[in-house]
């Protein structure tokens, strides 16, 4: 019997400089013909060691660091850190501050999901049309951030004990106008893509993650909910008054890239609902409690978790009564969601590996910290 056609596998670098790795992230893929045999990621290109730097700075000086880890959702990062320090120091935040924090976190989730959806459709090959539409809507959200915090991307808006300054007068009408137009656009985006046969063919049954693997591999956020696990920190462990708002958690069916896409699209709608309820019941009063700049929380440790756009964003802060934290650790959802990269990509084709990576929605700033 003649030997079958044997093509030896070779390694290609979907390297740091590649149009669809969402930043400086390198994936070494061993390919046998068109099929992926092994995938291994090489990270660390953007490593600034925030955790070491944070030990040299005071608690308030660390807030800008949290903007720069996950530069697509700076509000959620600030919120997570401030909650951790408030839990450590036992500071409580006034009602208005908490409501503003909820509004900002949900607006940030909308902006980050727009970027995620756009980049994901770009990976499946739709020639930048959906990503342009999503970015056009994201600009409106960024204008709101610029109006309140002065910056579009790294807002540095939250402080320990509340928010830096109160929301300006014309923030509320602008947000209400945005909330009226957003659901229409979300339906249009869903119409363009969710029913599209080619998009379905490219994303259905691609990178399927069974529910038990999802839990065991400590995935989080849309990755977890895509596999059918109804876990959302805003419902399970409500912070900043989330128990006051009613919204639902979208969960997928079989945990493939398509489920993660429709979960993210549905989360956009839920965020719009939350913002609407938060804006209606916006209480008066101070926007933050006075906290001394040289804050010295009592000795001890605290771990606070926030439902960021990419999943459970945890901050573990240990204090030794010094002005700066003794130990500062960020739980990076993007990095831990990548622990199943090999299980997702092996067996599929190179095109599927790219779509799988896109469905994880990584931000390299958060992976490398």
């Amino acid at each position: 019997m003649t030997s079958p056609i044997k093509s030896e596998p070779f390694v290609i670098n979907i390297g740091p400089q590649h149009p669809s790795t969402h930043g400086v992230f390198r994936m070494k893929v061993t390919v046998d013909g068109e099929q992926v045999v092994d995938a291994e990621m090489v990270i660390g290109y953007l490593h600034r060691s925030m955790e070491k730097l944070a030990e040299e700075r005071t608690y308030t000086q660390n807030i800008p660091f949290t903007d720069r880890t996950d530069y697509l959702s700076s509000m959620s990062n600030n919120l997570g850190y401030c909650l951790a320090v408030e839990k450590l120091a036992g500071i409580d935040v006034p009602e208005r501050g908490q409501a503003i924090r909820v509004i900002m976190a949900e607006l940030q989730r909308i902006a980050s999901h727009f970027m995620a959806l756009g980049a994901f459709t770009n990976d499946t090959g739709a020639w930048q049309t959906p990503v342009m539409w999503c970015l056009r809507e994201r600009e409106k959200v960024l204008d709101l951030f610029e109006m309140t915090s002065g910056a579009r991307l790294t807002c540095n808006y939250m402080r320990i004990g509340g928010v830096a300054f109160d929301i300006p007068k014309d923030f509320e009408p602008a947000t209400r106008k945005l909330i009226k137009t957003l659901p229409g656009f979300i339906d249009e985006l869903e119409g363009l893509l969710s029913g599209n046969e080619i998009f379905l063919a490219r994303t259905k049954n691609v990178a399927v993650i069974p529910p038990d693997l999802a839990v065991n591999a400590s995935l989080a956020g849309p990755m977890l909910r895509g596999s059918g696990i109804a876990w959302d920190l805003r419902k399970a462990d409500p912070y900043c008054g989330y128990e006051k708002y009613d919204f639902a958690i979208p969960i997928g069916y079989q945990g493939d890239s398509y489920d993660r896409f429709i979960v993210r699209v549905e989360e956009l709608r839920q965020s719009v609902k939350i913002i609407e309820q938060a804006l209606d019941g916006l209480p008066g009063g101070p926007h933050s409690t006075q906290v001394p700049l040289a804050l010295r929380p009592p000795k001890g440790e605290a771990y606070a978790r926030v439902e960021g756009p990419r999943g459970e964003l945890g901050y573990y802060v240990v204090s030794d009564e010094g002005p700066s934290p003794y130990r500062f650790h960020i739980r990076p959802p993007s990095l831990i969601n990548l622990s199943v990269l090999k299980e997702m990509t092996v067996g599929g084709s190179v095109a599927d590996a790219i779509v799988a990576l896109g469905s994880v929605d990584i931000v390299v700033g958060e992976i490398d910290r």
Binding site: P19, N122, W127, T129, G228, A230, I249, P250, Y253
Partner: protein
């Protein structure tokens, strides 16, 4: 053939440019030695077909028009900085590409790498020899024009493969392998769909097909909608435009077989891609959309104007699909070609042959029955497309496009058993 309104044969009658060219050639024939007239005829043909029509429409429709229209699809302006409304953008692009340094990787196969763009351009020019622009405005009315077009359209695949192979770069090798595999599997449905047209019009020459459509006052895409759809998909696969642009899928294999090219070598590939798209559009218009005729309008308006507008309209289809559709995977494309397009093309051929025999024997070729066949074919096309898809397991109603909503946070929520597992 309808005689042109107030048809005068003197050279300044721009409605039929063949008078002008024959006047020049006759003048030259008197003064020049024996062989020079042939060379002059070839030059005039090249200048008229390629330099006057193809190159400008490549630049303005292909580069500028496409970028502006895709910009509009993506809710942004296309290029509007260079010149009024960005009109000079293509010229700026061309100059930029000309002045850019074209690199050659050390380990590349230099000879093959330099030859590839040349071999890619040559068929793009040859393709325009058989396309009729007007009643007698055709460069070479050879009786086998259709087969000539198919032969020429299989050459650029080789040039792309040479380009991909010679770069000695993994991404290029991927692109080369993909384009060759896809070109072979999409050539067969293309040939079969055109075969249906040949069976009906009993000729291989494009000019004859245009006269046939003019004589029976019906466009062939109405008579054979299925052939038209298969032609469009097969040609967009041959030219690897989205949704089938996997040879240079920028999100996976950076730029496929064009990764190592820069400067004018890449420019040639980019320009001639658009040239082939225009060629395929011109061919599609001639075969399926009645070439330069518009039910008698060609007596007043110059025929070649009608033809040019139709080509740009057909080219818009390519721009439209490129702006909206995502990209298919290589194995999906292969199975789509062999399991879906090929059977449909064979069914289409079967229907057309039976109609052909019915038409010539039972109704001895009179006109109204063509319209009857057209309606029947449109129904057949619809039935075939949907029926064959469902046979292959295409159940669109099974895919849930909305996630399940849960109020309480908790562990795994098992999926309620759906009616049956769709594909």
């Amino acid at each position: 053939m309808r005689v042109q309104f107030l048809a005068t044969d003197n050279w300044y009658d721009l409605r039929d440019l063949s008078n002008l060219s024959s006047a020049i050639l006759d003048g030259l024939d008197k003064i020049a030695p024996q062989g020079v007239v042939y060379v002059a005829a070839a030059l005039i043909g090249f200048v008229a077909a390629f330099l006057i029509f193809v190159l400008p429409s490549q630049l303005f429709v292909g580069v500028l028009g496409e970028r502006k229209l895709i910009g509009r699809i993506q809710s942004r302006y296309g290029p509007n900085r260079v010149g009024p409304y960005g009109v000079l953008q293509p010229i700026a692009d061309a100059l930029k590409l000309l002045t850019k340094e074209s690199l050659t990787p050390v380990a590349a196969d230099r000879l093959v790498m330099y030859m590839a763009p040349v071999l890619f351009v040559m068929p793009a020019v040859l393709m325009w020899a058989v396309i009729p622009f007007g009643p007698n405005m055709i460069f070479a009315d050879i009786p086998v024009a259709l087969v000539y077009f198919l032969a020429i359209s299989s050459l650029p695949v080789l040039a792309s493969f040479m380009a991909g192979w010679s770069h000695n770069n993994k991404y290029s090798l991927f692109g080369a392998m993909r384009i060759v595999a896809m070109a072979i599997s999409y050539e067969i449905p293309l040939v079969l769909s055109l075969l249906g047209v040949v069976v009906l019009t009993e000729t291989l020459s494009l000019q004859e097909m245009v006269f046939w459509q003019d004589r029976f006052d019906i466009w062939l895409f109405a008579v054979q909608p299925l052939a038209m759809i298969i032609y469009f998909i097969a040609v967009s696969a041959e030219l690897n435009r989205t949704p089938t642009d996997i040879a240079e899928a920028e999100s996976e294999i950076v730029a496929g077989y064009l990764t190592e090219y820069s400067g004018m070598k890449w420019g040639l590939f980019y320009g001639m891609d658009i040239g082939y798209a225009l060629g395929a559009a011109a061919f599609g218009v001639t075969v399926f959309f009645g070439g330069w005729t518009l039910f008698g309008l060609e007596e007043w308006v110059p025929a070649w104007m009608i033809f040019v507008v139709k080509v740009w309209a057909f080219y818009f289809l390519f721009i439209w699909t490129r702006g909206t559709l995502p990209r298919l995977r290589i194995d999906q494309l292969m199975s789509f070609a062999w399991k879906y397009m090929l059977p449909l093309a064979l069914f289409n051929l079967l229907i057309i042959c039976t109609e052909r025999i019915l038409w010539t024997d039972a109704f001895d070729g009179d006109k109204p029955f063509i319209y009857l066949f057209a309606i029947a074919n449109i129904i057949f096309a619809g039935l075939l497309i949907l029926g064959w898809a469902r046979l292959l397991g295409y159940r669109p109603e099974r895919t849930q496009t909305r996630p399940r909503m849960v109020q309480e946070a908790g562990g795994y929520v098992p999926v309620a058993p759906a009616r049956g597992e769709g594909r």
